[in-house]
């Protein structure tokens, strides 16, 4: 195959777009795992819920995309808080496996309910007027919406990283994961902080769902096809590492994009091949400690 530079540039850019979804989702997972020690398998379903809530807002309440960007994270955070208070809270003292089973089961239930109600073909969600169209970059046509997704996701990822790694609030959070009883002794309400953190992680998934709604189909399976890849991203980046998951998300998006160009048949497996190699060479992940 002859390699044309413009085509390659196009693939790189597309890789970056997909990478921004991986980054956004794996960030939520990393935050939740880092602070709660819960492997949140419901993440894909929560991403799907985000897209569906956006669809409901548009079709039942007449509230468009921009409202969805604001309201969906709030709704999803509330949903997350509810799950944490009612279910996850009871599992912290047990093995990781229990949290994984609970969240996995929850994901299956949610997907089942939505498949039953809406079918698997999914529902269309139209792009907001302002973000339709695109730019001709010479080597490719870049849809405005995709450009917006890259920028928005970068801002959110870096913002989250900044809050957790560089602010006082973030330092409380990090301290609480190291030694909750000591932090509690300083007068910080640790259980509430953990609840809110889970809510925040879920809100990130919901937000990614809103970003995805106009591009993909709003369908019950949209999360399950993505979640496995996102888990691989988190494993490669190193469980619980915030910056690690962001960088790996974007990086793997690009590698996947290149695979789609050079050997498309392998594009759905390349990430797992990398995961296997990383686990053999550096089991804690590229950016993980320990």
């Amino acid at each position: 195959m002859s390699i044309s530079v413009p085509a390659l540039m196009g693939q790189l850019l597309i890789g970056l777009i997909n990478g921004s979804f991986y980054a956004l989702l794996s960030l939520g997972l990393a935050v939740i795992f880092g602070l709660l020690n819960i492997i949140n398998f419901t993440h894909g379903a929560q991403y799907m819920l985000g897209a569906f809530v956006a669809w409901f807002l548009l079709n039942k309440a007449g509230l468009g995309y921009w409202w969805a960007l604001l309201l969906v994270p709030i709704v999803l955070a509330a949903f997350g808080v509810l799950i944490e208070r009612l279910m996850l809270k009871h599992l912290y003292k047990l093995d990781h496996l229990y949290g994984l089973l609970l969240t996995f089961g929850l994901a299956l239930v949610l997907e089942g309910i939505f498949t039953h109600q809406f079918g698997s073909a999914g529902l269309p969600y139209n792009m907001p007027e302002k973000l339709t169209g695109g730019y001709n970059l010479g080597f490719m046509f870049l849809p405005t919406y995709r450009a917006w997704v890259i920028v928005a996701s970068l801002v959110i990822c870096l913002g989250t990283w900044f809050v957790i790694e560089r602010t006082k609030l973030g330092s409380y959070l990090r301290a609480a994961t190291e030694n909750p009883s000591l932090v509690q002794a300083f007068g910080v309400n640790v259980p509430r902080m953990i609840t809110l953190t889970y809510g925040f992680g879920v809100a990130l998934a919901g937000l990614a769902g809103v970003f995805a709604a106009p591009i993909y189909q709003v369908s019950p399976q949209m999360g399950s096809s993505l979640i496995i890849v996102v888990f691989a991203v988190v494993v490669i980046g190193g469980m619980g590492s915030i910056m690690g998951s962001i960088l790996t998300g974007f990086g793997l998006g690009i590698i996947e994009g290149l695979t789609k160009y050079f050997y498309p048949e392998a594009s759905s497996t390349v990430i797992f091949v990398i995961m296997a190699i990383v686990l053999m060479v550096r089991p804690q992940g590229l950016f993980g400690q320990r």
């Binding site: 079918g119 698997s120 073909a121 695109g134 046509f141 993909y216 789609k260 594009s267």
Partner: protein, 404 residues
């Protein structure tokens, strides 16, 4: 202890005797297995709707023919994996007394199930799969291919598009048996009509993001981008093609296998004008309308695809043959179904050929514009009717060993 053993032996003998004395329908029960994708990208094409269709057929058959045997319908989810599909088929045939398997979208799974069915001398009637190999090089005396196939789609849509000036093609192909067969058959149809194929890209099944492949198709400068995929894959490729300005850039899409559920998912805004080939549309005539409305009531107001209609009509025809023979021997029932033409309530005049191909009319549809459509599911207008004899591959071209 001894007494117990003796009693058991007596029971066994009695059971055996009863078995031979009874009619040839095993257990006096016909068990229908609907094997489908119940939860993933093809679940709206077949899936739970196919189970509903099968149950409707059983209900109607009982009302009209008052059979002496019992009929039961079971459903199974093959997860689009040939190994899972053939495992379920084996379990159904060996342990659960299933006599015939219906539906089964996903050609990869269907080819595997067809193989198992032949081994066990049961019956397999596929409405869901596409690959024309089912009645070609891989045909079987125990298999009938009931609704569409890749040759029909290629010939219907491919030829029509080339006639309208779309003479250079690039394929985006689902990377498994169905996609490969569809690309192969369409390539032949396009070349026969005077067009040429510039290239293709093979995409893993159930892909979310097609932008990368669309970009490659764009770079090929082909006039037509042929979508040799189905279900969720087709929806995503059409939606994203609109986003990347493919149609505005002068290239056109040809959806080679498009179901009404896909159009519903894409929305008319983006799907309008699309040309497609199918054997069934709910709004064709009074019979199809009446049946579809019945189905729709059970399915949250959705409308049936040609696969659902096919499951209904194939179960009905299968049961008719079982009753006529008073036997559920798979090979014999399939042979019986091939004997004479019949009037299908949903597909009109039909007959099953010796290679297992069910022959009935196909239609060339075009998707309406939002202005033309009167509401949800009012999506197609008929461009042309393709008579059954022209719609499907000529009997001797398929290379089926059953054809003398």
């Amino acid at each position: 202890m001894k007494l117990k053993r003796k009693l058991l032996a007596a029971f066994a003998v009695a059971a055996l005797a009863a078995g031979t004395a009874q009619a040839q329908i095993s257990g006096n029960e016909v068990k229908i297995g609907v094997l489908s994708d119940m939860s993933s990208l093809y679940a709206d094409i077949g899936g739970p709707g196919s189970v509903v269709a099968a149950k409707m057929a059983v209900e109607d058959f009982k009302k009209a023919h008052h059979p002496k045997f019992k009929i039961e319908v079971v459903g199974g989810d093959h997860l689009n994996k040939p190994d899972v599909g053939s495992q379920i088929a084996r379990k159904w045939y060996d342990a659960e007394g299933v006599d015939a398997i219906f539906d089964t979208p996903n050609s990869g799974v269907a080819l595997a199930v067809s193989q198992v069915t032949k081994e066990k001398n049961k019956a397999f009637i596929g409405s869901g799969p596409g690959s024309s190999d089912l009645t070609g090089s891989k045909c079987s005396p125990n298999t009938i291919h009931w609704v569409y196939d890749t040759w029909m789609l290629a010939n219907g849509t491919g030829t029509a598009v080339v006639k309208h000036g779309g003479n250079s093609w690039f394929f985006i192909t689902a990377d498994y048996a169905f996609g490969h067969a569809l690309e192969r058959d369409t390539t032949k149809a396009v070349e026969k009509a005077g067009g040429k194929v510039l290239g293709s890209v093979k995409v893993p099944l159930n892909t979310q993001d097609f932008s990368s492949f669309l970009l490659q198709a764009q770079a090929s400068k082909a006039k037509i981008i042929g979508l040799a995929n189905a279900g969720g894959d087709t929806i995503n490729s059409i939606k994203q093609a609109a986003e990347f300005g493919i149609v505005k850039g002068g290239q056109n899409l040809a959806g080679l296998l498009v179901f009404i559920s896909d159009i519903h998912g894409i929305g008319l805004e983006k799907a309008q004008g699309l040309i497609l080939t199918a054997n069934f549309y709910w709004d064709l005539n009074d019979k199809t309308r009446a049946w579809s409305k019945r189905w729709s009531k059970e399915m949250n107001g959705r409308m049936p695809t040609m696969v659902h209609a096919g499951v209904y009509s194939s179960v009905l025809e299968y049961l008719t043959a079982v009753q006529a023979l008073n036997s559920d021997d798979g090979g014999k029932v399939i042979a019986q179904m091939k004997k004479k033409p019949f009037n299908d309530p949903l597909f009109g005049k039909s007959h099953v050929r010796e290679d297992g191909r069910n022959i009935h009319d196909a239609y060339l549809f075009q998707v309406k514009t939002p202005a033309e459509s009167k509401g949800p599911y009012d999506y197609y207008k008929v461009l042309a009717t393709i008579p059954g004899e022209e719609a499907f591959r000529p009997l001797h071209d398929g290379g089926c060993s059953l054809v003398k």
